[in-house]
């Protein structure tokens, strides 16, 4: 009994060490870029000499400003498509018992199992040769949305699994037309899921390199510019560190917001558990 208890504690200890190691592995590079971004010496910033030069460079660079705008546009466009399709798909799968459910779910999830690079190059050729579309914002939004819809769909499924669709029945019996019912009953309950799906698909498209690169033609986005800078070596481009620090900060902020929303959701609908 004592031996088993000790073994249990040891296993727990090892597992928590592994968990700590994983956080270190994942966050050390992030901490590093943030630290470098506010330092003068990019190679060996010890002892630290703090400066905001990198951020000034970034702020004054019109290339980065255009790229930022393009990335935001790409992210928004893609996220709107993703959230729309993911909402429709997840609701239909959870609400209706159809014999096509399995097939539809496979279709919605299929993009997860195809690499970005493959989506990028095949969409490039498909748009160009088959649809006769040049590489532009629209084609990049669509190609990114294919991937993002899967992620958004997964998030919606996980969040909506607990929604009781008979609430919609109740609303309809009490006189709510389908749109009114969605607006009054469904939406107020599922909006955190939709927001989560929107944020994730926005971030994915905003930061995507391999799909966007092949489908944007000559339009620069932050990842493509960053890729260009990275090829000349890290030490050559201080503004890259500033950018990385800002993007990391924004992503972490978005996740914090999502976390708080999920906590809030649990608090407000706790009666279901």
């Amino acid at each position: 009994m004592a031996a088993a208890g000790a073994g249990h504690v040891a296993t727990k200890g090892v597992a928590s060490l592994l968990l700590g190691g994983l956080y270190l592995f994942l966050y050390a590079p992030i901490a590093y870029v943030i630290y470098i971004s506010v330092n003068k010496d990019l190679i060996w910033p010890f002892p630290p000499q703090f400066t905001l030069e990198a951020y000034e460079l970034l702020a004054n660079s019109s290339t980065y400003k255009d790229a930022l705008w393009n990335s935001v546009l790409l992210g928004l466009g893609s996220a709107i498509i993703c959230t729309f399709f993911a909402t429709m798909g997840s609701i239909s799968i959870l609400k209706y018992r159809s014999r096509w459910r399995g097939l539809i779910a496979i279709v919605y999830l299929a993009p997860l199992f195809i690499a970005d690079l493959l989506v990028g190059i095949s969409s490039l050729l498909f748009n160009r040769q088959v649809l006769d579309l040049p590489g532009n914002m629209g084609s990049a939004m669509i190609a990114n949305a294919v991937h993002g819809t899967s992620f958004a769909f997964l998030i919606m499924l996980a969040q909506l699994a607990r929604y009781d669709w008979r609430l919609d029945d109740a609303a309809m019996v009490f006189g709510a037309r389908p749109l009114r019912c969605f607006w009054e009953v469904t939406l107020p309950i599922i909006w955190p899921a939709m927001l989560g799906a929107f944020i994730i698909s926005f971030i994915l498209a905003f930061n995507n390199l391999e799909i966007s690169f092949y489908n944007l033609g000559a339009i620069p986005t932050l990842p493509t510019i960053a890729w260009g800078s990275l090829r000349f070596g890290l030490s050559q481009s201080p503004e890259l560190f500033a950018l990385a620090a800002l993007v990391n900060g924004a992503v972490l902020l978005a996740f914090t917001v999502m976390y708080l929303l999920m906590r809030y959701r649990i608090v407000s609908f706790g009666h279901r558990d």
């Binding site: 029945d169 309809m172 019996v173 709510a176 037309r177 706790g270 009666h271």
Partner: protein, 362 residues
């Protein structure tokens, strides 16, 4: 002269190969408390959903106040409904939940406030208007669901096993209250349940449903005392079933039950030798000491040993192991006799307490 509120004409609904509702016709009048009683899967909830418009029937018509609403969606029918698990909107307060139907109808703010006050008072929910559903007890949630169903003065109120999730004490209390609201409001209630006690307590009329069809539609007392079909006899009340071939002897019909002849009323159109099920309600049977004279009309008398006594308060169930190897359950007032387990007793009952039907073909 009572006016017709709800009428179903030959309504049929199929799900794939299963016929959930099979050519059902029904008329419910104003001031009627109508119970749909049946085991789970009998089609009673589907029928309620058809009346509400949540399912569209494959065939037949639904009329409410004489108007054909078969093709109308639920939001255009003007019925109230109380759902199983209440289905209160979790993100709306009690008051918002209750006035929801009025808002959908576009009622004026003043009207909404007035009706809300009325509904909360009627259901003794005063002071709870600002609470959220998850802050309420089960009984309070139930009352909110009722208030929401009633507030718009619907043509009729549909109730789908509304008391199934309440504990026994609360259920007894709510049974009386629900009945009171129906009498006060004077609108028909269609009440779906699998619990026969609920149906018998509250309703005026009962439809017993099985496999999508009505087995019997009648005032509740009649359903209880004069079951029309084998299914109703077995389902309503607590009965003993005695099965065997039908034999005629001395002008009377008998069932040979494990070799013991039981005098029965001859079921219609059943020839001698056919298998027959005879049902006798537990409380229609009585106990007598061996040799002691039973009640005047004791057509049947079988000897056995008292196996167990299940005390239930004012009554008790007596389990008798008969000499023919079968068992019978007899309900009697608990103080009738000082009986002990293992004692020999006779079970006696009159033919009038029995109902016999041709057995289901195997």
């Amino acid at each position: 002269m009572s006016e017709l509120v709800l009428e179903l004409q030959n309504v049929t609904k199929r799900f794939g190969t299963v016929t959930a509702v099979d050519r059902i016709s029904l008329a419910v009048t104003r001031r009627e408390f109508f119970a749909l009683l049946g085991p789970s899967g009998s089609g009673k909830t589907t029928m309620l959903r058809i009346i509400a418009g949540l399912e569209v029937p494959d065939e037949g018509k639904v009329l409410i106040n004489g108007r054909d609403v078969t093709a109308l969606p639920p939001y255009a029918r003007g019925v109230g409904m109380v759902f199983q698990n209440f289905l209160l909107f979790p993100h709306k307060t009690v008051a918002e939940n209750v006035i929801f139907p009025l808002r959908m109808q576009g009622a004026s703010k003043a009207d909404q406030a007035e009706r809300l006050k009325w509904a909360l008072e009627l259901l003794r929910l005063d002071g709870l208007g600002d609470r959220y559903p998850h802050q309420l007890s089960g009984g309070q949630q139930q009352r909110v669901a009722l208030a929401r169903g009633l507030i718009s003065r619907p043509a009729l109120l549909l109730l789908d096993e509304p008391l199934a999730n309440l504990d026994r004490e609360l259920r007894k209390e709510m049974e009386v209250e629900v009945r009171r609201y129906q009498v006060e409001l004077g609108i028909p209630f269609i009440y779906v349940t699998h619990n026969q006690e609920e149906a018998l307590t509250m309703s005026d009329r009962i439809a017993v449903m099985n496999h999508g069809r009505f087995e019997q539609v009648a005032p509740k007392l009649e359903v209880y005392t004069h079951p029309e079909t084998r299914f109703v006899a077995g389902f309503v009340g607590h009965s003993n079933r005695m099965s065997g071939p039908l034999v005629s002897a001395g002008g009377n019909a008998h069932v040979s039950w494990n070799g013991t002849p039981i005098q029965v009323r001859r079921p219609d159109g059943v020839a001698d030798g056919a298998e027959v099920d005879c049902f006798v309600k537990c409380e229609k049977m009585h106990l007598a000491r061996p040799g002691e004279a039973g009640p005047a009309e004791a057509h049947n008398r079988i000897a056995g040993i008292l196996r167990d006594i299940i005390f239930k308060g004012s009554t008790a169930d007596y389990l008798i192991a008969l000499d023919n190897g079968a068992e019978l359950m007899v309900s009697e007032t608990s103080e009738i006799m000082s009986l002990e387990r293992g004692q020999r007793v006779d079970v006696v009952w009159p033919v009038s307490g029995s109902a016999s039907f041709a057995a289901k073909k195997a």
